[in-house]
């Protein structure tokens, strides 16, 4: 029997469709659906935020307990050369942290006050808008997350962040890490990194490392979506500042004054 052009094309099309369906069926998930961790095992919130007590922090200008804890648990390398520096949390002078609070009569001492700064986990983060690979995005609970697997090192986010919260790995960071914590990955050359609000600790039901490490209780972490939370009470009771909020970024790190 001779096969004509029409039936040849129809048979070919059907065979292609069958292959595509088979492939789509085979491409399903490999493992079972996630099981729900027991109640209370992970910290969950609708809008995470941080409140930093400026006075309590500034009263101990030499203290770096929070920064050391953060950099230790996240394998942050230590480079002395400021051009290669990687920072998740660090201290900035008051006048640099709050340029809008410029005041000629406040005196040099106030301008030089050390202020703990970190990623503000903005309500409207400019860094995530410019990422071409969606390697950084805002989670439902407000954490501005990074997927280092996807970062291509274009550094658009570094340029977009008005707080300097993002650092770029110009060289292999591993040799510069004082002691590698094997439970957290390191990064490679060519990847951007920043504070992740300790999302890996939240998943285990732990508070962020800086909050736990502060010996003076200057840091309060909590759910801004919960009106009963301690952070909401603090923000209602005391006046607070936000860094460069006039830019419309909606920083979620508050400085109690």
């Amino acid at each position: 029997m001779a096969i004509d052009r029409r039936s040849f094309l129809a048979a070919g099309g059907l065979a292609g469709l069958a292959l595509a369906i088979r492939r789509a069926v085979a491409e399903g998930r490999l493992t079972a659906e996630p099981w729900a961790p027991p109640e209370g095992q992970a910290l969950t919130g609708t809008r995470w935020g941080m409140a930093i007590d400026l006075e309590a922090c500034a009263a101990h200008p030499g203290c770096t307990a929070c920064i050391e804890a953060c950099h230790r648990v996240h394998n942050v390398p230590r480079f002395d050369d400021p051009k290669r520096e990687i920072k998740w949390t660090w201290k900035e002078t008051f006048e640099h942290a709050f340029p809008a609070q410029e005041n000629p009569w406040a005196g040099e001492e106030r301008a030089e006050l050390p202020v703990l700064v970190m990623c503000n986990h903005c309500e409207n983060p400019p860094c995530t808008r410019v990422c071409p690979t969606r390697a950084t995005w805002k989670r439902e609970d407000g954490v501005v997350m990074m997927d280092w697997h996807r970062c291509i090192g274009c550094r658009y986010c570094v340029a977009a962040c008005p707080y300097g919260s993002r650092s770029f790995n110009w060289v292999d960071p591993r040799p510069a890490i004082p002691e590698i914590d094997p439970s957290f990955p390191t990064r490679t050359k060519g990847v951007v990194e920043k504070c992740n609000l300790c999302e890996e600790r939240l998943a285990e039901g732990k508070l962020p490392a800086c909050v736990t490490a502060c010996p003076y209780g200057a840091l309060t972490f909590g759910d801004l979506g919960d009106p009963e939370s301690r952070i909401r009470r603090l923000l209602a009771e005391r006046p607070s500042l936000r860094r460069k909020s006039f830019l419309g970024t909606g920083p979620q790190v508050f400085y109690l004054v």
């Binding site: 490999l30 493992t31 099981w35 989670r139 997350m145 997927d147 094997p182 439970s183 990955p185 390191t186």
Partner: protein, 134 residues
Amino acid sequence: MYDAGKILAGLAIFVVLVATPFWWNAARGADTAPPRIEKPPAGTSCVLPPDQMRHEHMRLLIEWREEVVRQDLRTTRDAAGRPLRKSLSESCLACHGGREKSCDRCHDWLDVRVYCWDCHSDMGARRAAVAGGR
């Protein structure tokens, strides 16, 4: 066929060149037996049945990676239905006793370079192996 001699000679040279890895290894007397992966003493079943694991472990790891990092879904169940953390370092390597005893065996043999270890560490697994007497 014109120039049959030249064409056949050219084809013969081509085949010899393409087969270089095979005759080179045979001439060198290299051990070409496929590597053996030891069964972890602690484990009774893997995340997937062994045959599927052999063929699809890379897909499984990418699936876990996407779910943990991008969707905050960190747990699953293994083939026997037991709860399991989706973690290369703390589930796979902890059970298999480090990458030298599992991943590296095949990847070295096949000369496949994986870049997992540029960031992920297997020291936690080594520490667990020491603590667990393995």
